[in-house]
């Protein structure tokens, strides 16, 4: 009798194990979230399950390195989870290839969202992702270096000319005044150089995706402005292999005095080198123009092949409540009302808050990744000294023309 019981129990346990690893239960939501969200996501899941005991959330942690490929493979394979956190910029590609489902019915309080965040993930008048986190870059600088160079740390540069002058003054004793990026993933350089084109009235392609702007005089001037920091020796000699992380490391090592970075960089600088007195300024603009920034951030998507889309929508609706969204985000929430939470009062974040209204989504185009690759190759040709800005951007324009 006893052995039989044990046997049945064992069999039950084995089949339960097989089930849980092999397939999802009805009512189970598999949610992929990046590791920087892990602790807060677990907290929210516990809260959600108390209110919804019939839905189980299976939280799986991803890393951002190589995530685009992993998500794409999952979406294409037909064996996708129910919710995935992806960057705003990826959503359009998924929507155009029918890999995710529309989420218009989940969105509540449309007016409470930063409009640019929703525009980002809208395609054919439908919403394909639910934005929950937004951010833009600003310029982080070392106040101590400013004082040493005879600059006023409380009055950082406002215009392009002032930025060049400050970078020149700061470039001394083996230090680089202003670090630009020219390596790593393409996005690093797009996020940092595109705002300069926008401020100057240029861009890579027009917002409606019909015109190539990459070799217009305004854009070329901005590209020259950006690449000259390297060509004139104001950006580190390793610029061509530096991405945002490398620049942060150089800033922490105090060999770089200013660089463009997101608010997520502030904490790691504080912990790794507490001696640095961090200053933040809005990205300098041409005389008489407004500043600009690329709006970045993360959205939830539900793959077309999700097994439990209805339960997934319930969870997304819960996570999108202002309070939960404000809790989950690593940077700023996509909802305006969530921005009032006390955690966003930190004075160092105020400049980042000021940048948000100037944040614009990157143009939505099915071939956007290839377009930015063509542009990035052009930037690298300039940095390598192969071509001047006009020639490199004409070359990029010819490539991009074929992609529109």
């Amino acid at each position: 009798m006893k052995t039989r019981l044990i046997k049945t129990g064992l069999a039950g346990a084995v089949s339960a194990l097989a089930l849980s690893t092999g397939m999802a239960f009805a009512g189970e939501v598999v949610w992929w979230t990046p590791n920087f969200n892990e602790a807060r996501a677990r907290e929210l899941v516990t809260k959600f399950q108390e209110a919804n005991p019939d839905i189980t959330v299976n939280l799986q942690i991803t890393t951002t390195d190589g995530l685009p490929q992993r998500v794409l493979t999952a979406l294409q394979s037909g064996a996708a989870p129910d919710i995935i956190d992806v960057q705003h910029g990826w959503v359009n590609g998924y929507a155009q290839n029918n890999l995710v489902m529309p989420l218009d019915d989940v969105l509540q309080d449309r007016d409470d969202y930063v409009p640019a965040a929703l525009d980002y993930v809208t395609f054919n008048d439908q919403l394909w992702g639910m934005p929950y986190r937004i951010e833009s870059l600003a310029v982080i600088y070392n106040k101590g270096h400013f004082t040493e160079a005879g600059l006023d740390p409380e009055n950082p540069p406002q215009t392009w000319d002032e930025l060049i002058a400050a970078a020149e003054a700061l470039t001394q004793n083996g230090r680089s005044g202003f670090a630009i990026t020219g390596g790593g993933e393409v996005g690093n350089t797009i996020f940092r150089s595109m705002p300069f084109m926008w401020m100057n009235g240029g861009g890579i392609i027009s917002e409606d995706g019909t015109q190539v702007l990459v070799n217009s005089p305004e854009t070329v001037a901005a590209v020259e402005f950006y690449t000259n920091f390297y060509k004139n020796g104001l950006s580190p000699s390793s610029t061509l292999e530096n991405d945002g992380t490398a620049n942060r490391r150089l800033f922490i090592a105090e060999t770089v005095s200013m660089y463009q970075a997101g608010q997520f960089d502030v904490n790691s600088i504080k912990t790794e080198n507490p001696n640095i007195d961090i200053g933040v300024m809005t990205i300098p603009h041409p005389e008489g123009m407004d500043t600009a920034a690329v709006l970045g951030g993360w959205s939830f998507v539900i793959p077309s092949d999700a097994r439990n889309p209805d339960e997934a929508k319930t969870l997304i609706a819960f996570l999108s409540e202002a309070e939960n969204q404000g809790y989950l985000t690593d940077t700023f929430p996509a909802r305006v009302s969530a921005m009032d939470l006390p955690r966003f009062d930190d004075p160092i974040l105020q400049v980042y808050k000021q940048m948000l209204p100037f944040g614009r989504p990157a143009p939505a185009h099915p071939n956007w990744v290839q377009i930015t690759q063509a542009y990035f190759d052009g930037i690298q040709r300039i940095l390598l000294g192969d071509e001047d800005a006009q020639t490199a951007m004409d070359g990029a324009a010819a490539e991009i023309e074929a992609l529109l």
């Binding site: 020219g182 000699s237 390793s238 292999e241 290839q370 690298q380 390598l384 192969d386």
Partner: protein
Amino acid sequence: MHRKSTGYLFVLPALLVLGLLIAYPIAYTGLLSVTDNQGNYVGLDNFRTILAARATPTAFVNTLWWVAGSIFFQVILGVLTAILLNQNFRGRAIVRSVTLIPWVVPGIVAATTWAWMLHTEFGIINYMLTAPGIIDEPVGWLTNGSTVMPVMIAINVWKMFPFVAIMVLAGLQSIPNDLYEAARIDGASFWEEVWYVMLPQVRPVIIAVTLLLVIWALNHITIIYAITRGGPANRTLITPIQIFRTAFESVQFNQAAALSVMFFAVAITVVFIYIRTTAANAGASK
């Protein structure tokens, strides 16, 4: 007759598995290459688009350099190492095992380590060169257009030459001693022994290994992708990386499939030569 058909019956399960694992992906790639992302038939459009891309000829030329450069030095260094390891000297066992290290280290680990060592600012190689004053300024090994491909080839040579050495060493050890004795009686010097005894005897091994290396270098993606991702300005972009980028970064699976099909045609030719050569060698040695 009857016996033969029973034999086929027995290999059927294996054939089925092989079919699923090999034939299906190849057929699917072929199908992808002539359709668009909605699955409609578009003929050779994908081939035209990908051939017109500016990166394609660049990647093709880079691939030639990458394969030729890697093979040349891997074979020469590998054969020299094998001859060295075939000599009698103290500590030979230790040297033999140490030589194997690059080959044993996982590719991604090696690539990341080299990337760090070669970094312009933080890299130990620039530090070792600037500290004693051998060079004045750090060299941008990975960012200078003229050094980056040679550096990639050097890493690949470092990674793979032990394999050549081991294979050739095995060949050298199977050379009968009387051949050396005969050569010595005729008054051959060491280098004459190498040239007239060792190399002719291991020639089949060298040819087979070289062809194998060509196939591997053609398919190799780890080192370059982990270090430069094909940059700067596509200086190290080789065709396998272009295929990967087109598919997984640009979401153009159909164009990537078209490029793969063309690349497959080249690779299969080398594989064919390899099979013919090894089969001929096996026949000759009987």
